[in-house]
C-alpha cells in the first residue's frame, strides 16, 4: 500500500474546520478519518497480479554509449488500471527516467522505454519492477515489486580506437616500404614497381629491369598470418586504481587496439585473461568477427584479489601456440613479480616467442617523485624514486631474458603497444 499527495492535501485541508471547532479531538478524528479513507481506497485498487510484465534489453552496449531498455506491461485483468511502474536497474546501469505512468484498459498493453547510459563495464543486472496501482479515489493504492530478470552487457569503451586510423596508415606505409627497410630477409615478395629516388639500390631487380625500359625494384610486404597472443593479468595488481580506473581497464584498452590493428594486418589474434585460472578468452576467430567476440569476452573481466600463477601462464601460452608468435603480457612490473615467478615464466616463453611486457605507469607516483615542497614530500619523492629503481631493475632483468618492456601512463599504453607491434612488424622480427 502507498498513499499519494492527495491524502496529505486532504489531511491538511482539515485545518480550516479545525480553526472553527478548536478541539484537538477533531484533529485526531479528521486525520484518522482521512487515513481510513485512504486504506479503503487502497483496498478498492486493482490487484497487482492482474498485470503482466516483460522486459527486453539490447544484448550489448558499448560503455559511455546510450541505449534504451523496454518494459512491456499488459493488463491481463478485467478492470481498468491506472498507476505507475518503476523499471529498476543497478545504479551503474545509468537508467534515468525509469518511472512510467500507465493507464490500461482490460487486455491493453503498453511499452515503457527507459533510456540507459551505463557507467561501468560488465553485466548490468535489472532489479525488480515495482508496480503502483491507484485506487478509485486516487488517495492510495497497492504497490508490489515483481521479479523480471534481465541483463545488459556493457562492453569496454575502446576509447583507444581513436588511435586506430593513424596506426593503420602506418601499417599501409610499412607494406609499401618494407623493401627499403627489410633487405628482403624473411619477407614475402609482393610486387615490382618503378624505381624512385630514395629506394635502396640493392632492391633493384636487374633481371626485370633488363626486360623493360625502366628500372624496377622488388617490393616486399610483412608476413601475414602471424600469431599474436595477448595475455591480460587480472590478479591483484591489476585491481589498483590509476587515475580513477583499475590498471586492468588500461590493459583492456591496449588489448583491444592491438587486436584491431593486428587483425587488420592479417595476423591471427587470441586473447586470454588470466590470474590463477583463465577468466576469459577469445580465439579461433579472425577478420571482422574478431572484435565483437573479443569485446564480449573482455566485458565481464574483473580484477581478482589473488596472486597470479605465472608457471600456469607459461604453460597456457605454450599449449596455445605451436609456432613462433608475438606474446604480449599486460601486467604490472613490480618487485614482487620476481618472487612470484614472473621472470621464469617470461624466460620460458621468450625461449620460443617474441615477448612484450606492457605495464601501466602511475602518474601520481611520477608526481610524487617531483615533490619538493616540504620534508614529507621529499620523503615521498625518495620512496617514489626507490620504487622506480626497483621497477627498472625488474625491467632490466626482463630485457636480459630477451623480452621487451613497455611502461606507459594509462592513456598512452594502448598507442605505445600498437607502435611497438608496428615496429616489430616493420623490422621483420615477427
Amino acid at each position: 500500500m502507498y498513499i499519494t499527495g492527495w491524502t496529505v492535501a486532504l489531511s491538511a485541508l482539515g485545518a480550516v474546520p479545525a480553526m472553527w471547532v478548536q478541539e484537538r479531538t477533531f484533529a485526531w478524528v479528521w486525520v484518522l478519518g482521512v487515513i481510513a479513507l485512504a486504506c479503503l481506497d487502497a483496498a478498492l485498487a486493482p490487484k497487482p497480479g492482474s498485470l503482466g510484465l516483460r522486459r527486453s534489453a539490447p544484448r550489448a552496449v558499448r560503455l559511455t554509449e546510450s541505449t534504451a531498455v523496454e518494459l512491456e506491461v499488459v493488463n491481463l485483468g478485467a478492470r481498468r488500471v491506472s498507476g505507475a511502474v518503476r523499471d529498476a536497474w543497478q545504479p551503474s546501469a545509468g537508467a534515468t527516467g525509469n518511472r512510467h505512468r500507465i493507464r490500461l484498459a482490460p487486455g491493453e498493453a503498453t511499452v515503457c522505454v527507459t533510456p540507459m547510459r551505463p557507467t561501468r563495464r560488465g553485466d548490468r543486472k535489472a532489479d525488480v519492477v515495482t508496480v503502483r496501482l491507484a485506487g478509485p479515489l486516487r488517495l492510495a493504492g497497492r504497490q508490489r515489486s515483481i521479479d523480471a530478470p534481465a541483463t545488459l552487457r556493457v562492453l569496454p569503451e575502446f576509447a583507444s580506437r581513436k588511435h586506430l586510423p593513424s596506426r593503420l596508415a602506418r601499417l599501409r606505409e610499412i607494406d609499401g616500404q618494407t623493401a627499403v627497410q627489410l633487405k628482403g630477409a624473411g619477407s614475402e615478395f609482393d610486387s615490382l614497381r618503378e624505381y624512385v629516388i630514395g629506394d635502396d639500390v640493392r632492391a633493384i631487380d636487374w633481371r626485370a629491369s633488363a626486360r623493360r625500359a625502366e628500372v624496377l625494384v622488388k617490393t616486399y610486404r610483412p608476413e601475414r598470418d602471424r600469431r599474436v597472443m595477448i595475455v591480460l593479468d587480472t590478479a591483484r595488481l591489476s585491481a589498483a586504481r590509476v587515475a580513477d580506473a583499475p590498471r586492468l581497464d588500461a590493459s583492456i584498452e591496449a588489448a583491444l587496439l592491438l587486436s584491431a590493428l593486428a587483425s587488420k594486418a592479417g595476423d591471427r589474434v587470441q586473447v586470454s585473461a588470466f590470474d590463477r585460472v583463465e577468466r576469459a578468452r577469445a580465439m579461433g576467430v579472425s577478420g571482422p568477427a574478431m572484435m565483437p567476440v573479443l569485446a564480449d569476452a573482455l566485458s565481464t573481466v574483473e580484477p581478482a584479489l589473488v596472486e597470479p600463477d605465472w608457471p600456469a601462464v607459461a604453460r597456457l601460452v605454450q599449449s596455445r601456440l605451436s609456432q613462433r608468435a608475438l606474446v604480449v603480457l599486460m601486467t604490472t612490473l613490480d618487485a614482487s613479480a620476481v618472487d612470484g615467478g614472473m621472470l621464469d615464466a617470461v624466460a620460458a616463453i621468450a625461449h620460443t616467442h617474441a615477448v612484450v611486457i606492457a605495464s601501466v605507469d602511475d602518474p601520481e607516483v611520477r608526481a610524487l617523485e617531483r615533490g619538493r615542497d616540504d620534508m614529507h614530500e621529499l620523503y615521498a619523492a625518495g620512496a617514489a624514486a626507490r620504487g622506480a629503481l626497483e621497477q627498472d631493475a625488474v625491467a632490466a632483468r626482463v630485457r636480459e631474458l630477451g623480452a621487451d618492456v613497455l611502461t606507459a601512463l594509462p592513456d598512452d599504453l594502448a598507442p605505445a603497444v600498437a607502435d611497438r607491434y608496428l615496429d616489430l612488424k616493420a623490422s621483420g622480427k615477427l
Binding site: Y2, S11, A18, G49, G52, T130, L378, G382, L389
Partner: protein
C-alpha cells in the same frame, strides 16, 4: 507479434498502447504476497501487534505527569494540596484544577468558588479581570496588589510566629476552626467595614480575612501553609480550609503561573441560578463574558492552535507519503578502491617515521644519475667513473663537486637531506647534451 522498437531518444511519454497482448511469457505478481494476506496467514503476529499497540495506548492514557508545583491539587508532596482536594471531593465538592485562566470557562459562577493559589505572578490586568468574577473567591497566599484591591488598609506582613492562635472574630468558619497558626505570612491593618480579620498573633498579623464584597465573599488565607498536605491535619487548619472552600458545589482551582498571560473566562449563566450568592447585579456585570480572544492577549487568531495541531498530524501523514519507497533500493556490487600510489605513500611514511634520510636520498641520487646518464648517452655499464666526468663536462662543474653531489656521504638529518636534494636538482637542470 513483433515487438516494435521505440526510438531511444524519446522516453517516458513514448509509452504507447497496443491493442492485443500476448498471453504467455509475462512475469506476474503473486497476489498472495500482499500485506493483508500475509497478516491473515499469521494471526499470532497480528494479535501480538494489536496487544502491543493496546499496551502502549493504555500506558500513555493512564500515565499522568508528575506534578511538583506548590499548592497544586495534583501535587502529592508536602507542598501540594492534593489532600485538601481529595477531602473536598469526598464531601461531594467538585474540585477542578485549571491550567490557564482562559481554560476556566466557569459555567455557573453562582455555585462555583474560584480558588487562586499564589497571586504573585499575576499581572495587573489579570487581577483586574479576576475581580470581575461575580462568584465567591478564595485567595490563598495573596500578594499585596490583590489585597489592595479588596481592602486597601490591609498589608501583607511576613510572620515568624509558630504558636497557634484563637479565632478571635465573628466569622463562623474561623470560630469552627478554633485555632490555627499564623505561618509564613499574615495580614495586618484594617479589613474595612465589611471585612473580618481572624486569628491574630501577638504582633498584629492575622492568618485569615473575609470581606463581603457586595454579593460575593472574598476570603484571604494569608497563612497559606495551612492548606498544604504537610500542615492540613494540624490544629484547625482542615476545618478552616474545608469550610472556606466547600461553600459551593464546585471549586475551580488555579495556581498562579508566570507563563499564563490569559484572563479568566466564565459564562454569565441565568440570574438567580445560584443558591443565593450569585444573584442580581454582579451576575449582570459578568453578563458579557470575555471571549477567548479577549482572554488570550495573543496576536494569533483563535483556533490557530488546533489548526497547527492538525497540521502537525498532517506532517506525520506526509512523512508516510514520502517515506514509502517506490520499490526497494538496488544494490551495486562495488569493487575495492585501492589507489596504486598507496604503496609508495606508505613507504614514504615509513621513511619519514624512521628518519631514513640516507635511504631516501640514495634513491633520488640513483634515479637522477640514471636520468643524466640516459641524457648524456653514458652506458649503464660505465658506472661511476664514466658518469662523473661526463656530467662535470656537461654542467661545466668541477668533477669533485659532481662526485660529492651524486655519490657523497649520505645525509644524517632532514636539513642536510634537503640541501643535497636541492643541489641534485640544480645539477640535473644544468646538465644538457654536450
Amino acid at each position: 507479434m513483433s515487438a516494435s522498437h521505440v526510438d531511444s531518444t524519446t522516453h517516458l511519454d513514448s509509452a504507447r498502447t497496443r491493442p492485443t497482448p500476448a498471453s504467455a511469457g509475462y512475469s506476474r505478481a503473486d497476489d498472495s504476497a500482499g500485506l493483508v494476506t500475509r497478516a491473515r496467514k499469521r494471526p499470532v503476529v497480528l494479535i501480538a501487534a494489536a496487544l502491543f499497540v493496546a499496551l502502549i495506548v493504555t500506558l500513555i492514557w493512564t500515565s499522568r505527569p508528575e506534578d511538583y508545583t506548590p499548592l497544586s491539587t495534583d501535587n502529592a508532596t508536602p507542598s501540594g494540596t492534593r489532600a485538601l482536594a481529595q477531602v473536598l471531593r469526598a464531601q461531594g465538592v467538585d474540585v477542578r484544577q485549571i491550567a490557564t485562566m482562559a481554560d476556566a470557562r466557569i459555567e455557573s459562577p453562582g455555585t462555583t468558588t474560584l480558588a487562586i493559589a499564589g497571586t504573585e505572578p499575576l499581572a495587573e490586568y489579570q487581577i483586574d479581570a479576576l475581580f470581575e468574577y461575580p462568584g465567591d473567591i478564595v485567595v490563598i497566599d495573596p500578594s499585596q496588589s490583590v489585597v489592595d484591591r479588596i481592602a486597601p488598609a490591609l498589608s501583607v506582613e511576613p510572620s515568624l510566629d509558630a504558636a497557634p492562635t484563637a479565632a478571635d472574630c465573628e466569622d463562623p468558619d474561623a470560630v469552627a476552626a478554633e485555632r490555627v497558626r499564623v505561618a509564613d505570612e499574615g495580614l495586618a491593618g484594617d479589613a474595612g467595614e465589611d471585612g473580618v480579620l481572624c486569628f491574630p498573633n501577638d504582633y498584629g498579623s492575622h492568618a485569615y480575612a473575609v470581606v463581603d464584597d457586595g454579593d460575593r465573599r472574598v476570603t484571604l488565607i494569608a497563612s497559606w501553609p495551612l492548606v498544604t498536605n504537610e500542615h492540613l491535619a494540624e490544629d484547625g487548619n482542615a476545618a478552616l480550609a474545608l469550610r472556606a472552600l466547600g461553600r459551593h458545589e464546585s471549586v475551580a482551582w488555579y495556581v498562579g503561573d508566570l507563563f499564563d498571560p490569559s484572563t479568566l473566562t466564565w459564562s454569565a449563566g441565568d440570574d438567580g441560578d445560584g443558591d443565593g450568592d450569585g444573584d442580581g447585579g454582579a451576575g449582570a456585570d459578568g453578563a458579557v463574558p470575555p471571549s477567548e480572544i479577549e482572554a488570550n492577549p495573543d496576536f494569533l487568531p483563535p483556533g490557530t492552535g488546533s489548526a497547527i495541531y492538525l497540521l502537525a498530524l498532517t506532517a506525520l501523514v506526509a512523512a508516510w507519503w514520502r517515506a514509502r519507497r517506490f520499490g526497494p533500493l538496488v544494490r551495486e556490487p562495488l569493487p575495492v578502491v585501492v589507489r596504486a600510489s598507496e604503496a609508495t605513500r606508505g613507504r614514504a611514511r615509513l621513511y619519514r617515521r624512521s628518519r631514513a634520510s640516507g635511504r631516501a636520498t640514495a634513491a633520488l641520487r640513483a634515479t637522477a644519475a640514471a636520468r643524466m646518464a640516459r641524457r648524456l648517452g653514458v652506458p649503464r655499464a660505465a658506472g661511476r667513473t664514466g658518469l662523473v666526468p661526463a656530467v662535470a663536462r656537461a654542467a661545466g662543474r668541477d668533477a669533485t663537486d659532481v662526485e660529492r653531489i651524486l655519490y657523497g656521504a649520505p645525509p644524517t638529518d632532514d636539513l642536510t637531506m634537503m640541501s643535497i636534494i636541492h643541489e641534485l636538482d640544480t645539477l640535473e637542470s644544468e646538465v644538457h647534451r654536450p
